[in-house]
């Protein structure tokens, strides 16, 4: 019985099956080319601590896209939340702070970051749902505005020399082996699973993404649900930002500028329809892992500079979309006339 369920979990979803196949091929290719460097415990641990930051952000982009929109402001909002948290930490933890005082300040900073994520996401949601601003424009605008506030707060400079307590707290290994960011990522995935698959809210998000007008006529509070979806996205952006700050031990207005593209790539690769209404969490999580494997795999070659990654992301995104189109219709669009 159990085996059957696992079988259907894997086999019933062609997109997921494709992703698993892709992952397998990647791992095999790497094991042929660079086994000595890739399959070391050091590399695996560093891989595990790298993906949670953009992984969590892409979960936010995912829910916005399922609701029929898109959230291009996640990185800006993440930076705004972390810079505010960093400023609070700097102000509230003097050199001589006791651990209790430090713990209080860290909790306050995290709470502030999450609140900023919530409010920032709400701004996006209200613009999209109440004013009917196209999601692309609304979130482009708020991205610019949030980044602008970051620049004003920091003067464009990096906020380094954070009190060491925060970095230490983020560096904790749960049960002695699992890095804390992984645990945070797992909690976020679990929360998203409950939200999307087990709650009425999730069903409503899918419905609105599939057909907004039908959802309106069936009596859903469309505006409220869309706003809430963007709020979830905002909070996830803030959490992702905090993880990023823990790793970098600093905050800056233009950190993670490549993550917007990466998040969209993950979400599309993971099987979310850019038009909204469909997409599964397992696909997106697998896509996050695939991206990390590609990224770490490219790092194995010292002669390949970092910009090649952008090239690879672009090619992967475009070819995934083309392949999906071809798989769905069998051939390119013939309406030439």
């Amino acid at each position: 019985m159990k085996l059957k369920r696992i079988k259907s979990f894997v086999l019933d979803d062609k997109n997921f099956l494709g992703l698993l196949g892709m992952m397998l091929v990647l791992l095999i290719v790497i094991s042929i080319i660079r086994p000595a460097k890739f399959y070391t415990s050091n590399n695996l641990v560093s891989m595990l601590s790298q993906f949670p930051q953009y992984g969590i952000m892409s979960l936010g982009v995912m829910i916005a896209m399922i609701a029929g929109g898109i959230d291009l402001s996640v990185v800006g909002l993440a930076n705004l939340a972390t810079i505010s948290a960093a400023l609070i930490l700097q102000a509230m933890i003097p050199e001589s702070a006791s651990s209790l005082q430090a713990a209080g300040a860290i909790i306050l900073a995290i709470a502030a970051a999450l609140l900023i994520g919530l409010v920032g996401g709400m701004m996006n949601g209200l613009l999209v749902s109440m004013l009917n601003v196209p999601a692309i424009l609304a979130t482009l605008g708020t991205f610019q505005a949030y980044t602008g506030i970051c620049l004003v707060l920091t003067g464009g400079n990096i906020i380094s020399r954070l009190p060491s307590q925060f970095g230490d707290a983020m560096g904790v290994k749960v049960l002695g082996v699992i890095p804390l960011p992984i645990v945070i990522f797992a909690v976020c995935v679990l929360a998203m699973w409950i939200l999307l698959s087990k709650s009425a809210f999730g069903k409503k998000v899918y419905m609105i993404g599939t057909n907004r007008r039908a959802a309106t006529y069936s009596g859903l509070n469309v505006k409220g649900v869309i706003t809430a979806a963007y709020m979830v996205s905002g909070v996830l952006a803030a959490i992702g930002g905090l993880v990023m700050m823990g790793r970098m031990n600093s905050a800056k207005a233009d950190y993670g500028s490549s993550y917007t593209m990466q998040c969209i790539l993950i979400v599309v690769l993971g099987g979310v329809d850019p038009a909204g209404g469909s997409g599964k969490l397992k696909g997106v999580v697998t896509a996050i892992l695939i991206l990390q494997v590609i990224s770490s795999g490219l790092n194995m070659f010292s002669q390949i500079n970092n910009f090649y990654k952008q090239l690879v992301w672009g090619v992967v995104l475009l070819s995934v979309m083309v392949i999906k189109y071809l798989a769905a219709t069998g051939r390119p669009s013939r309406q030439i006339r």
Binding site: I136, G148, Y308, K309, Q310, L311, W313, M321, P332, I336
Partner: protein, 350 residues
Amino acid sequence: MKRLVKMNETYVFVVLALLCLLVQARSGQFFRVYNLIDLLVALIVPAMFALNTHVVIASGGIDVSFPCIASFCMYVVTRILQMIEYQGSVVLAFVMAAVIGAIMGALNGWLIASFRLPPLIVTLGTQSLFTGVLMGVLEAIEISGSKLPSCITSFGLQRLYETVNPENNIITYIPTSLLILVGAVIVTYVILKHTMFGRSIFAVGNDENAALRAGIPVKRIKIAVYCYAGLVAGVAGIVRMCITKFCHPTNLTGIEMEVIAAVVLGGTSIAGGKGSITGAMLGIALITVMSNSLLLLGIPVQWQTFCTGILIIFGTGLSAYQAMRAGKKLMRRTKIQPAEKPAAEGGQTA
């Protein structure tokens, strides 16, 4: 007169004029000749980008890859000219940039039209791809000064008019490149208003299915639109290099947000099928004047990004709100379904 009151362009113009007067009142320097010339020079490249963005958005799409296309053309053309030690006229540089830009644009158009993919995501992808090729494969670095091809430098120094600022003896001048902008505006205007192709762009933007049934080759039109956008972006890249006299591979990144905002502010509907070149030009003028005048207003430069963001949110919010109200009005008048776009007057204002 009544039509003037109704037009979006009028409002943008009024806001622009008020902003100019405000800057003048605060600093007393706005209407000095050298300031106006500085603004005009700062406007040339963004205005060309606004042209291509206007065409793309009018067709119902969006393009965020044009700054990368411009940078790519700028860099590759410079490298080719260096390699062949070219000494001739600058025309060759523009032609090469136009061809490379058009090819890159055609890639966008092909992906969007043949595979029916969402334009935003496709152009985000090609943006990443182009930057990766430019920075990773070609390992682009800044080229400046005497290393630039001589035709670029000399064309950049050609001027239509020059004046000396009496306070610090700095010469400001209008470069000949302004004529390229003027040419591009005229060509785009003629294409959009007086050719079958241009009218088809608005038809496709308004309602793709209706356009298809009316016998318009939607796919070809879309490819051509992105091709044209790439062409203009490529030329704009060379113009930028002539004006700034250096070739920096990444410092155009991020301008796409301002340009898209400007075009939407100017009344081009993001849903497609509506808008005018006049509006797009006024919109880009508004954004350029704002970001160049913050210092004159006594606002620190750090606020620039924030102000642009607020302007985007406010401008798009306002036009979305107007569209919503117009939609409701139309619904009350004709009792049609609410989601039908108020399409009748689409594309008629220019």
